[in-house]
Amino acid sequence: MKKFKNTFRLIALYFRVNLSSALEYRSSFLLQAFGMAISNGTFVFFWWIAFSQIEGRIGGYDFNDIMFIWALTSSAFGASNILFANMTRITRIIVSGELDTFLLQPKDALISLLCSRTALSAWGDLLYGFVLMALTQGADSMAWLMFLIGIVIGGLLMTAIAVTAHTFTFYFGDASLIGGMALEFIINFCIYPEGIYRGFVRILMLSVIPASFIVHLPLSLARSFRPGFLLLLIAFSFLYCFAAYKFFYIGLKKYESGNLIVTRM
């Protein structure tokens, strides 16, 4: 329990330092926010057209459902990029030797590594989700509850996914391709209804590519709450994050024995 408390304190500390560092770059923030607004607007536009042309639901979802998963994806991604922005740079950090700096410090190397950077634009992503929710879900309290829970869980899961992908660098020397794609993949699976996929893909989305746990399960809980499934959601997320954490440290042992393919002697 003390470990968790210390971990939280560490994350909070990095958060504060990151904020002051990032505020040095206000100008590019506006541009990124603009780009994101346009991008998001495009998709809303698409779905509006789609639903005006088609009767009924698409993949079991109606317009509001889709807006929910879109909002949740955006906010969860934003949250993880605010707190753990280095998750996209893990390969670079390992290969450049920057990892050593974190290993030499007395705190948890992975957490320190992940927290040492923030993406200011991520606030835009986080905020956008809230705006979209406000516009489409109104005062649906269940939806809001699941949205907030989903941000925490989804954010953690996205971070875990990125960490897992980049951990392959310890084994293959350069996993920047896998690492770069991991989040893109997961987001792509998160922003469309679950029901459009069949068979094997659905299983994938409930395991290796846990998009269903990030957005689809929270949505179904928002529409019809079942405490059992909420427990399942929390349990799965905890397990997945724990596995990612362990996987990283196993890879780290390999790094420490010096047998990286890319030997940086």
Binding site: V17, S21, E98, D100, Q105, P106, S112, N259, L260, T263
Partner: protein
């Protein structure tokens, strides 16, 4: 208890060799080929508290590998290491509270922030009590003359200023040992001198054990009291610097160019290494012929167009040591 105790330390790298090309990539997947590199071969030494020790050797000699094993970020293949009574491999976190590190190109300071913010962060990372941290920062600021630098974002500092802040940062938690891996690399002469001074000061005033790796002879001469020379993973010399200096660092290389042809007789202690039409490369044994005498002699012949005075390259010093060792056994 010695600060550092190393016995029969070995590090064998097994690197997977992957060649260029698609066919080779497939081959590598099915049957990977390995290349074994003995980075560190059976070295043993110990360091007492308060010592200043330099690990000297050319690139690839095993210096960085050794220091990484001492600090716990690399696991040895075999052998025993004890740093401050702890096993770096198994007790790295504990050890990290008591050691400081300055690793050449890697920075502990946040690029966009003033050093003072990084210091605060490091204070929290090392669980330093707020009052003690404040006092410590004041001490270090005075000692390292950081004054105005503290509030300037690191990206605006010159390299020399940055390194000073880096060293200060590594000392915030009053470590018992300070590990420095190539700390003066890339710095100009004046800054190098300053850094070396600061390291000496730390050792003098706080009793910090200093362990540094370098391939700069200046570091040996000015900072260390004891030098361990390592080459190809083996320790070939472990001596007080005074003796090392006397035995091996008494040579200076002078390259001179005249604007008229010169024929001259060398004074004692000066040997001609290479002669061109209007210039020469001379080797001066400063035991026999002090450097100022040699310079005076050269200039007295008049018409010096260009002159450079250098230390012999590290590789040469090492090979001299090597051959000397081979001869003396």
């Amino acid at each position: 208890m010695s600060a550092i105790e190393v016995r029969n330390l070995n590090k064998l790298y097994r690197a997977r060799v992957k060649e260029e090309g698609l066919k080779a990539s497939f081959r590598a997947l099915i049957r990977p080929s390995y290349k074994e590199v003995e980075a560190v071969k059976n070295i043993s030494f110990s360091v007492e508290q308060g010592e200043i020790l330099a690990f000297i050797g050319p690139n690839g000699a095993g210096k960085s590998t050794t220091i990484k094993m001492l600090t716990g970020i690399l696991h040895p293949t075999s052998g025993d290491i004890s740093v401050l009574g702890l096993d770096p491999t198994k007790e790295r976190k504990q050890l990290s509270y008591r050691i400081g590190t300055v690793f050449g190109q890697k920075s502990q300071l946040w690029f966009h922030l003033p050093p003072t913010d990084s210091f605060t962060l490091l204070g929290a990372i090392y669980d330093i009590d707020k009052m003690i941290l404040k006092k410590r920062i004041e001490e270090l600021t005075e000692c390292f003359e950081l004054g105005d630098l503290l509030k300037t974002p690191v990206r605006k500092l010159s390299l020399g200023q940055r390194i000073r802040c880096e060293v200060a940062a590594s000392l915030l938690h009053s470590p018992d040992i300070l590990f420095l891996d190539e700390p003066t690399i890339g710095l100009d002469v004046v800054v190098k001198h300053k850094i070396r001074e600061l390291i000496l000061k730390m050792n003098r005033e706080q009793g910090t054990t200093i362990f540094l790796t370098s391939h700069d002879t200046g570091d040996i001469e000015q900072v260390c009291r004891r030098a361990v020379v390592i080459d190809h993973g083996e320790i070939i010399l472990d001596q007080p610097v005074k003796k090392l200096k006397y035995d091996y660092l008494n040579r200076k290389i002078i390259a001179v160019r005249y604007d008229v042809d010169q024929h001259m007789e060398m004074p004692k202690g000066v040997t001609l290494e290479k002669a061109g039409k209007m210039g020469a490369r001379l080797s001066v044994d400063t035991h026999i012929c002090p450097i100022d005498e040699a310079m005076r002699w050269i200039i007295s012949h008049g018409g010096v167009a260009d002159i450079t005075v250098e230390d012999p390259p590290m590789e040469e010093v090492i090979s001299t040591i090597f051959s000397h060792q081979a001869v003396t056994g």
